[in-house]
């Protein structure tokens, strides 16, 4: 070496690697926990198409653009698409998964607050992508 010490660089690289290991391990652990779907989750079939969302509950009720769910229950979305790739997103509940034609993707959530939340499409799907929006309505049946 050109007459200067290199230990600061090794220490620095070591610190960076340690931080990355921490981030990786923590992310792995959290993802493992949140991917575990509760046994009693109700299934809601979500279908994206240019440029609306349709929902089908387990009891056969269908909804377009609006989704009614109950506070405190667990729901499992089975997401697919009729035409191009969309991405089903309820930002307030960190629900995000692509709706891919020919595939069914699943993600679950459990609403904790009563109210109305935005549903939107987060994958570019053409002309009205910007307005492919819906509403999640969380109701409290127990009250």
């Amino acid at each position: 070496m050109s007459g200067h010490s290199t230990w600061p660089e090794w220490v620095y690289v070591g610190v960076v690697i340690a931080l990355l290991c921490y981030v990786g391990a923590e992310a792995w652990n959290i993802e493992r926990i949140i991917e575990h779907v509760p046994e009693d989750a109700e299934i809601i079939k979500v279908t994206g198409q240019q440029w609306i969302w349709t929902f089908e509950h387990e009891d056969g009720t269908k909804e377009i653009g609006e989704l009614h769910v109950e506070k405190g229950k667990a729901y499992k979305f089975e997401i697919t698409s009729k035409d191009v790739i969309h991405s089903f997103n309820i930002h307030d509940y960190v629900v995000l998964l692509d709706a891919v034609p020919g595939r069914v993707n699943t993600v679950w959530f459990s609403p904790t607050d009563v109210g109305e939340f935005d549903i939107q499409c987060r994958e570019y799907c053409g002309l009205i992508h910007y307005n492919m929006r819906g509403t999640l309505i969380v109701e409290d049946k127990g009250a």
């Binding site: 070496m1 050109s2 200067h4 290199t6 600061p8 660089e9 620095y12 690289v13 960076v16 690697i17 990355l20 981030v23 990786g24 923590e26 992310a27 792995w28 959290i30 993802e31 493992r32 949140i34 991917e35 240019q50 035409d83 191009v84 790739i85 991405s87 997103n89 930002h91 307030d92 960190v94 995000l96 998964l97 692509d98 891919v100 034609p101 020919g102 595939r103 993707n105 699943t106 935005d118 939107q120 499409c121 987060r122 994958e123 570019y124 799907c125 053409g126 002309l127 009205i128 992508h129 910007y130 307005n131 929006r133």
Partner: protein, 508 residues
């Protein structure tokens, strides 16, 4: 170097030349022209998003076409050619050879760019710069989409030819007295980024052909209605374009390795650490492509593998940052325009990298994916790091090309406006993404936080726009009327650390 404006030649002599500095000049002028064009499109987008409702773009299809051409232009017609420009100028001189290994191939690689640019701009496709099926197969309007596919095809071949040329020039034409380990880091940057190109880009070339035949209805690779799988395209696409990120960023890092030691008047802290970091990035860059696809419904195992691969690329970038700071440490720094851009560049490079760690952590990616966070994140790389490094190098190189000095005052004003603008635009976009605004939308509901942040972002964009206008004026005015540069030491740095590639290759 060539002093084009002091010894004027007829333009056709430059256009039909195969000499490396002439081809470099063509690359440079073309790429800067496309930079201004692509940037102007960005300003249109920001005017439209200034507030909810229709501003100046009448319909969403036009908006979609504009952001598609904006991205395609700046990645493929600005960043890649601008790297080739300086590579053409410097690589033969750095390895002490009379020209590139294949001068005619070099000129051919350049002349593929204008027709490709014409196809992209005349077509004005709308399916975003990554053209995901099934939208691009069944829904995107032609002939724009097909013209885009052909344009990208030509650009892919062009960059493969250019990379072959760099690799052969460095590996086979290097002076026998110059070992690889002593080669300047900028030449190492071209060697590693060219190797990545050669491995990565053919995959996308194949995917483009499949996309084209799918569009023609002759095949169904990516169309589930014909038994295909749209996710297969995403794998092929990102296998090329995640490494492509490194193809773009490595030359910019190389520019900074030229700028920092000169203006700090001190040798590079560790040449071998720079070489190690470039090599490491070349290898691990291929282990992370599917981190762009967590939300497509990947399994837990796949996500874990690609998260680890992504995090593994971070230490190499961190080594570069350390090397830059350690080089400046204790140096007699002259804060001329080029090093200001380089310092701004590493600050933003660090921010972009830190944000990238957030994206790669699986649970957090589902908050940021396809939102404005991602837009802010990769713009911090492509603008904050790559454009900053490149523009700094354009200023550094200006006297060698024109024989004149640029206006230092205007250069610094340009830097300050760009830095402030970049922070306003792209840091705010990160926060806007956390508030849930999706990317690629023409209009948005009047959610108060979204409206406020979009106003801040648009104002930041206009500040960058003013800076770029000043840049354009500076380039044109100074190359015609600037004061003649002292060609031995244009920046007044003095001493042995100034190493301006005075070696000049004869024209042939």
């Amino acid at each position: 170097m060539v002093l084009e404006l002091q010894k004027p030649r007829p333009i056709w002599q430059i256009m039909f030349s195969t000499h490396h500095t002439d081809v470099g000049l063509l690359y440079l002028i073309t790429s800067l022209a496309f930079m201004f064009m692509g940037g102007a499109l960005a300003l249109l987008l920001r005017v439209e998003l200034f507030s909810p409702g229709v501003q100046i773009i009448a319909d969403s299809m036009t908006y979609n076409r504009i952001f598609t051409v904006h991205g395609t232009t700046l990645i493929f017609l600005f960043i890649l050619p601008s790297a080739s420009a300086f590579g053409n100028y410097l690589v033969p001189i750095m390895v002490r050879f009379k020209d590139m290994a294949y001068p005619k191939l070099n000129a051919v690689a350049f002349w593929m760019i204008p027709p490709a640019g014409a196809l992209i701009w005349l077509g004005f496709a709308d399916f975003t710069w990554y053209a995901y099926p099934t939208y691009s197969v069944i829904s995107a309007p032609g002939p724009a989409a097909d013209m885009w596919i052909f344009g990208l095809k030509i650009l892919g071949v062009s960059s493969i030819l250019g990379s072959i040329n760099f690799v052969v020039t460095i590996m086979k034409c290097k002076h026998p007295d110059l070992p690889l380990s002593k080669m300047p880091l900028l030449a190492w940057a071209y060697l590693t980024s060219s190797l990545i190109t050669l491995v990565a880009v053919p995959t996308f070339a194949a995917a483009l052909l499949m996309l084209l035949t799918d569009r023609l209805g002759a095949s169904g690779f990516f169309n589930p209605a014909m038994g295909g799988d749209p996710i297969a395209y995403q794998h092929l696409f990102w296998f090329t374009f995640h490494p492509e990120v490194y193809i773009l960023v490595i030359p910019a890092i190389g520019f900074m390795y030229e700028i920092f030691p000169r203006f700090s008047r001190k040798p590079i802290f560790s040449h071998s650490s720079g070489v190690a970091a470039f090599t490491l990035l070349t290898i691990v860059g291929f282990a992370s492509w599917a981190h762009h696809m967590y939300a497509t419904g990947m399994s837990f195992t796949e996500k874990t593998v690609f998260m680890v691969g992504t995090l593994a690329a971070v230490p190499a970038s961190a080594m570069h940052t350390f090397n830059f700071l350690a080089t400046m440490w204790g140096g007699r720094i002259k804060f001329a325009t080029p090093i200001m851009w380089a310092v701004g560049g590493i600050a933003l490079f660090f921010s972009a990298g830190a944000g990238g760690v957030v994206n790669s952590a699986m649970p957090l990616d589902f908050i940021t994916h396809d939102s404005y966070w991602v837009v802010g994140h990769f713009h911090l790389f492509v603008m904050g790091t790559i454009l900053f490094g490149t523009v700094g190098f354009v200023y550094y190189f200006f006297p060698y090309v024109t024989g004149r000095m640029y206006s230092e005052v205007l250069g610094k004003v340009h830097f300050i406006l760009s830095f402030v603008g970049t922070v306003l635009v792209f840091f705010t976009q990160h926060i806007l993404g956390l508030f849930g605004m999706p990317r690629r939308i023409y209009d948005y509901p009047p959610i108060p936080e979204w409206v406020q942040m979009n106003i801040i972002i648009s104002i930041g964009a206009f500040i960058i726009g003013i800076g770029m206008a000043i840049f354009l004026v500076n380039l044109i005015w100074s190359s015609a009327k600037g004061k003649p540069a002292d060609m031995d030491d244009p920046f007044g740095l003095g001493g042995k650390y100034y190493f301006p590639y005075q070696a000049k290759n004869p024209s042939h």
